[in-house]
């Protein structure tokens, strides 16, 4: 199996000034007084990670341990301060469902806009359109602006788009808890189908049970450092004992 994601010694540092300086006047004043102090916050500290095609990787860790930052580096939203991130293949952003929806547009318009955001042409989206609406169970609401949708409906549409485009890498950040229990079952089933079809999946969840159920391998992040990397049960047990 070939390696699809390679993270090498990735470090992400944020400059945090005590008060955010974002006006020119303040910047000039502070610069002249030499008061431009920044505190550094290390969100990720020399993390190495290799993910092979078809891997189902769970990421566990407390709040603020760098899970989301790692996903952002992998999906290319951020560049690491040091180190490198390489990946091959298309990636779906599930970092938050419905990212890029415009509330004034209808469900139909949003499907095409969202598809375009993910780099798909109109024709490619036309082929998938019926399946997307069908899976999200929104047949009767196709031409209604998203702002009139319930949060569950919006999340269903987002999930449906992200999983119907058959991404090579699927990123799931705390989203299997959307919708009612019926949709949750349906979405878990869909994830498992994707896994079987060979998609690589990165799953972040605070539900250890869910990680154990879906993943084969897991990593444990703590304060930006990778503490453990290995078989899912081993890592989860250590995490539960240690955290």
């Amino acid at each position: 199996m070939d390696t699809i994601i390679t993270v090498k010694q990735a470090t992400m540092r944020f400059k945090v000034s005590k008060d955010k300086v974002d006006s020119l006047k303040e910047y000039v004043i502070r610069l002249s007084k030499r008061q431009l102090y920044f505190e550094e916050f290390v969100a990720l500290d020399k993390v190495d990670l290799k993910v092979k095609r078809g891997d189902i990787l769970g990421i566990v860790g407390l709040n603020g341990s760098g899970k989301s930052t790692l996903l952002k580096l992998i999906s290319g939203i951020m560049r690491p301060t040091e180190g490198s991130v390489q990946r091959i293949g298309t990636i779906s952003p599930l970092i938050e469902l419905g990212a890029g929806f415009n509330v004034d547009l209808t469900a139909r318009e949003n499907v095409f806009l969202n598809g375009a955001v993910l780099g798909f042409t109109r024709r490619q989206m036309l082929e998938r359109y019926d399946r997307i609406i069908d899976f999200a169970e929104l047949e009767d609401f196709q031409d209604i602006p998203i702002k009139n949708f319930s949060s569950g409906m919006t999340a269903r549409l987002g999930f449906s788009i992200a999983t119907t485009i058959n991404p090579e890498i699927l990123i799931i950040d705390e989203i299997l808890s959307v919708g009612d229990f019926k949709f949750r079952q349906k979405s878990e089933q869909r994830i498992q189908e994707l896994m079987q079809s060979g998609s690589t999946v990165l799953l972040v969840s605070h539900s250890i049970a869910q990680i154990k159920k879906l993943c084969k391998r897991a990593i444990w992040l703590d304060k930006g450092k990778k503490i453990m990397d290995g078989e899912v049960l081993e890592v989860c047990d250590a995490y539960e004992a240690g955290a």
Binding site: S23, Y27, M78, N102, L105, E109, V117, G119, T121
Partner: protein, 279 residues
Amino acid sequence: MIAGTAVTATCLIAFVILIPQIKRYLPAFLQYRSLLFNLVSKDIKIKYRRSVLGLLWSVLQPLFIMLIVSAVFSHILRVGVENYPAFYITGILIFSFIIESTSLSLNSISGSASLLKKVYIPKYLFPLEKCLFACVNMLFSLIAVVFVYLILGTPLHLTGLLLPIPMFYAAVFSVGLGLVLSAAVMFFRDVSHLYAIWTTAWMYLTPVLYPLDILPGFMQAILSFNPLVYYVGYARDVMLYGVVPDFGTNMICIGFALVSLIVGIAVFKKTQDDFILHM
């Protein structure tokens, strides 16, 4: 004029050197082409959604503004330009296009923060998209321009077919400026307030409301550094006066546009990775 030619030549050489770089970005750009069109159509839809007259406003709005401005400047303030309505509406067509596309570009990145925080998209698409959107608006306004010419019986010259040339120059210039502004505003929000003031000043520093030759000589010299003078003048030459601007004028126009574009790309490329930290 010689300076313009020299600048244009330098910029063209710079572009030739950069061709391999541009080639590297081309596949990604082509992949996101449909996003570009989707975003433009989204902007158009949202602009006119739930208005009764819809797209017609793009034509009506410049017409009504022209009526007001003409009333003020040709009857009350008496600028003394022959055929003032046509003079004004031809100039404002190019001028408002540049102002609209740059002002929209300015907030395009910060306005798409929710998207850029979650999905990887080449960020330059957003200022570029705003410029395309402004282009579409300009084409609708062009209907208003032609309408005014027809009503007033102003002859439509054959040279009017060259109007896309100044439009294109202005578009390249706007993309460059838009890239700089959209990057600058990520680090200093003041830029958006400053630019709003600057556009008002720019309006009076460009002969949109009055002809250039009513200004004293030293003012004309100062205004020769204002690229918009040439773009607005070019549009009037081909549309209103039936004149084709000479080689030198073209060189000056291209020079300004290319300098703006190269500076824009350079600034944007250097700063874009830090945008996310300021969203």
